[in-house]
């Protein structure tokens, strides 16, 4: 499974941003994601990838790449 493609798709849907804006080095704050958006994204990912992402992990997530890295290590 191409995790990056899937995550990108979810971010585009959740945040209503353009696909080109979502790169590995993109920070969520630059996508104008507020705290509710992040919670929603995390919950959607937990569902999609069937895992749990703890609040401590969520705190550490700053960029799209951080998410990919976490998912690749845990899926």
């Amino acid at each position: 499974m191409d995790i990056f493609a899937k995550v990108k798709e979810m971010i585009v849907e959740q945040l209503g941003v353009e696909e080109e804006e979502v790169k590995k080095e993109t920070a969520f704050k630059d996508l104008n994601a507020d705290s509710l958006d992040i919670v929603e994204l995390v919950m959607a990912m937990e569902e999609e990838f069937d895992l749990e992402i703890s609040d401590e992990q969520v705190e550490k997530i700053k960029t799209v790449g951080d998410v990919i890295q976490y998912l690749e290590a845990n899926v």
């Binding site: 507020d34 509710l36 929603e40 919950m43």
Partner: protein, 244 residues
């Protein structure tokens, strides 16, 4: 226009039942939750349907996290959405603090306060996805003023008010409005238990000179659930002037 869908906890009788009928008159789909009074919940449902609303009856203890989630899920499964959640289920277990059993404290807090958390938590994620919704929590003037013999109840109702404001701030950006209604003394089975003398005493303190009726509360709930697009995080006191 598509019918709105509303979940009312504790709608088998009393204030919850009246809210169900009032909103059914507006053509809403109503999910009627109850705990013990099955026949009366079904009677409420029949009345909702005779007024042109669709009804779904769901048994479930709001004090139970899992059962509350199931309640919200049952609504989504049937109606595909939840526009309005009315947290109305509530109980009393009155006694003076020194005589209050731990169980009476726990029971009232878990039904009246945790129940509001349980149902709101489950409903809010669907409302966020829908980008809108309303949550109305039935508190009490006792949560504002206190009342001897009701420390557990007063604490739970005051807790609901704090919860209402916190949640209102969390979800305002998603178009979800969260308010509380604080009824005064309303004639239901809950207040029927009071001795006649204390009812007369209360009556003396109500400027409008009568006890409230469930319809007085339902009217406010209707306003908050269908109109009132610029009100959130508020406590609407409906008490005939008792606490002014």
């Amino acid at each position: 226009m598509m019918s709105k869908t509303c979940i009312i906890t504790g709608a088998s009788r009393g204030i919850g039942r009246e809210i169900a009928l009032t909103l059914a008159d507006q053509g809403m789909n109503i999910v009627i939750n109850y705990l013990g009074s099955q026949a009366r919940a079904e009677e409420t449902a029949a009345e909702v349907e005779s007024r042109g609303g669709q009804a779904l009856v769901v048994r479930g203890d709001v004090a139970d996290f899992g059962e509350s989630e199931k309640l919200i899920k049952a609504c989504i499964d049937k109606f595909n959405r939840v526009d309005i959640l009315i947290n109305n289920a509530g109980i009393t277990r009155d006694s003076l603090i020194m005589r209050m059993k731990e169980e009476d404290w726990d029971k009232v807090i878990s039904t009246n306060l945790k129940g509001v958390f349980n149902c709101s938590r489950a409903a809010v994620r669907f409302m966020i996805k829908q980008k809108g919704g309303r949550i109305i929590n039935i508190a009490s003037v006792v949560g504002l003023t206190g009342n001897p013999g009701q420390a557990n109840y007063a604490a739970a109702k005051a807790g609901i008010i704090g919860f209402t404001k916190a949640l209102a701030k969390e979800v305002a950006s998603r178009g979800i409005l969260v308010n509380a209604v604080a009824p005064g003394y309303i004639q239901t089975e809950m207040t029927e238990a009071l001795p006649v003398e204390s009812k007369e005493k209360i009556l003396k303190h109500i400027p409008l000179g009568r006890l409230g009726q469930p319809a007085d509360i339902a009217e406010m709930v209707k306003f908050l659930s269908m109109e009132a697009s610029y009100i959130t995080g508020q406590v609407m006191v409906v008490d005939g002037g008792l606490t002014m």
